[in-house]
Symmetry: C2
Subunit: 417 residues, 2 copies
């Protein structure tokens, strides 16, 4: 193992998402007990309430009550400085041979014994549209194949407001939504269950520092406001969306559910995986100018599991493909004075790459349903069927260091009668 790789006295496999370099935060409970904040390491969850109660957070000295909490918001609101100290405390406790945590076995809970909850009280949710490949694919399918990108796309990290109330944690089943759709060549809409149910492979970032209304976040300071990242499945009802979205954008086609992974990976843990983004041509306006490596090399995949849990990988993509980075998204979102709050969630938009295998939605993978995908059980899929479970996974890896997101999954249940 290379020198820069830290070791923990907790044993885990080399390909474990939750290495000591990661230390993601989540909200867990055991046997319907109270919700508490924990950190994942290997196959364990560190109970930070128990750790703080024993006075083991010697550097950060964060009061234990912060960790007996239904959401990460109060912890995040302590700021980057205090959270950096907490990260040092936890790293030390998990790596030091003479760690006092070793004398506190109750604070280490096998991960299979915990129930994970929505980690963040989502204050506002915005979804971007920042993959050039995705926007191009959609433009080719629904607009002009020769001018697939709209005129504003290379100038603006296009985005829209989403629904905060229906953001759910991985594992929560989703009812197939009902709504209006317009059959081909019909003049009147019909009402019924969505027939073209889709996923969108996204990541999301979570705000850890609020701003005042009227102020703006500068592009090169934007990461100071980002606490961490999650995986995001922006479930989409394509037929509902198609009929409703002109002129005010997606609405019921999206707001029936958006699933996020339970573990929030701190931005600091992703530092080793920084890469430069694609060149932006034409040059962006000065307020969107981004210096340094602001993209991240994060491998992403999507699998569909049938009712018998037989799994087919349908997409392999990477977060580094994104045309617009998170700093640009945040600078743009606030350039007009819009304020952000601790707990805000910002979705990347569907993350598609150049290869057909890397398209981040069934819409693109099956090219509007014209190219059904073969499943491992011999069936095919154009879109998502009842009882299918969609699983998204993500991890970054470099020189022996691995930082993973775990997964976000959700099963589709039949529409209510």
């Amino acid at each position: 193992m290379a020198k820069h790789v830290l070791k923990s006295w907790i044993k885990y496999q080399e390909d474990c998402d939750f290495s000591i370099h990661n230390l993601p935060y989540g909200v867990f409970s055991v046997n319907d007990g109270p919700k508490k904040i924990g950190v994942a390491i290997g196959d364990y969850v560190v109970d930070l309430f128990a750790v703080a109660s024993k006075g083991l957070l010697t550097k950060s000295n964060i009061p234990k009550t912060i960790f007996k909490n239904s959401f990460l918001n109060p912890l995040m609101a302590l700021g980057k400085g205090k959270n950096a100290e907490l990260r040092q405390d936890i790293t030390k406790l998990l790596s030091s041979r003479i760690s006092k945590l070793r004398e506190l076995p109750k604070a280490l809970i096998p991960i299979e014994n915990v129930e994970m909850h929505l980690p963040v009280k989502v204050t506002d949710y915005t979804d971007f549209y920042s993959s050039k490949e995705h926007a191009t694919n959609v433009g080719k399918m629904f607009r002009d194949p020769k001018n697939a990108l709209l005129p504003n796309w290379r100038h603006i990290p296009v985005g829209y407001h989403g629904r905060a109330s229906s953001i759910i944690v991985s594992g929560t089943p989703i009812r197939r939504p009902k709504g209006q759709q317009i059959p081909a060549n019909a003049k009147k809409p019909i009402y019924g269950p969505c027939k073209l149910l889709d996923f969108e492979l996204e990541t999301g970032f979570i705000i850890g520092r609020s701003t005042e209304l009227g102020s703006s976040i500068k592009c090169n300071k934007a990461e100071d406001y980002i606490f961490g990242m999650v995986l995001l499945n922006d479930w989409s009802a394509r037929d509902i969306q198609k009929w409703e979205y002109v002129p005010l954008g997606p609405f019921l086609g999206k707001n029936f559910a958006s699933s996020i992974s339970p573990w929030v990976v701190p931005l600091e843990a992703l530092d080793p995986f920084r890469v430069a983004g694609p060149k932006q041509v034409p040059a962006v306006l000065p307020y969107l100018k981004s210096r340094g490596k602001k993209n991240f090399d994060i491998n992403l995949e999507v699998a569909i599991k049938n009712k018998s849990a037989q799994e087919t990988i349908v997409c392999q993509s990477n977060f580094k493909y994104m045309y617009w980075n998170m700093s640009q998204q945040l600078a743009h979102h606030t350039v007009n004075g819009c304020n952000v709050n601790v707990g805000d969630l910002y979705g990347s938009g569907t993350i598609s790459g150049k290869s057909k295998r890397s398209y981040g939605s069934m819409l693109e993978l099956s090219w509007k349903g014209t190219k059904p995908l073969k499943m491992i059980d011999g069936t095919t899929r154009k879109f998502i069927q009842d009882y299918d479970t969609v699983v998204m996974r993500g991890f970054a890896e470099k020189r022996g260091i691995r930082v993973g997101f775990g997964e976000v999954s959700g099963q589709i249940l039949p529409a209510l009668k």
Copy 2:
């Protein structure tokens, strides 16, 4: 005075918005003291914390702590039944000659001595587009004058998600937003202060009862979920909006600020003003079928005050013109299983009528800036200038009963350098 008109021992003018038939709730403070919940009557605010502390809420018996609160949300969450009892308590205290409130003068605060705050912690904000006249005007200006309404408009109460963080209470000044705009015939956008700043005359309703994700609210039960209404100014930066809004809808053109009136008028207070809505042709789908009188006859007006507070009324409209009613909006919003929460705000969309005088935005009143409006000071306006204050007012009146909203106002300050 007619028999059905209640009388209070607190004296107020006949044209007072805050009659005993109204009893709107708001959050106030005095001299930077704690935020408390009050009810407006005449020129006074009834301090409900003081009233509850003295045990005067004999029917509802709501604990006093509910009223020492920064927001109405916990009170609203008690439900329609408990809130009906509270309304009875307050009505009795304010109308009975032997009211114990008369022995508690401290609980009656002159309205000019209170500072009003945002009444609701807004959990999610959705804005509809439900005036046929407004949608038609916009369609005529920007799309096809012969087919001004888009194909979905008569089938769907079209709406989109807005930004909850930037909802502010009346009186809060607003910085002119900056952002990208595309000059006429230019190929590249420029960056700078918005030049086409506009208001939109709207009302909003606030949710008082939550639902579970996956469930839907039936159209004829929707009012059970509506606590009350406010006036809403959906500030709009037309040049920013025009460049950004395709294909995902309005974003930075709207989310720099939305102002609401401080007093939430209970839906019950508006009961005498029910009217039938316009006939909907073609017939709507069954889940949108609305029975009974679901529109409300509420007079609305918009004034522009110059820096010297000289006021010009620029619009007189009425909420009864709306094509889609609030029940239909809520039924549609949840038909796909989207959940609602206590504290959600739902905007009506710009409320325009048939006459040119009734158009609810400068965009329509000045017809895209081609017909400047004359102000009382001799100047003209195409859109809103720095230091202008936009004031919206609303009231319902019938057979001697008046229920008013007070006003929502906001002054535009110059863009930050």
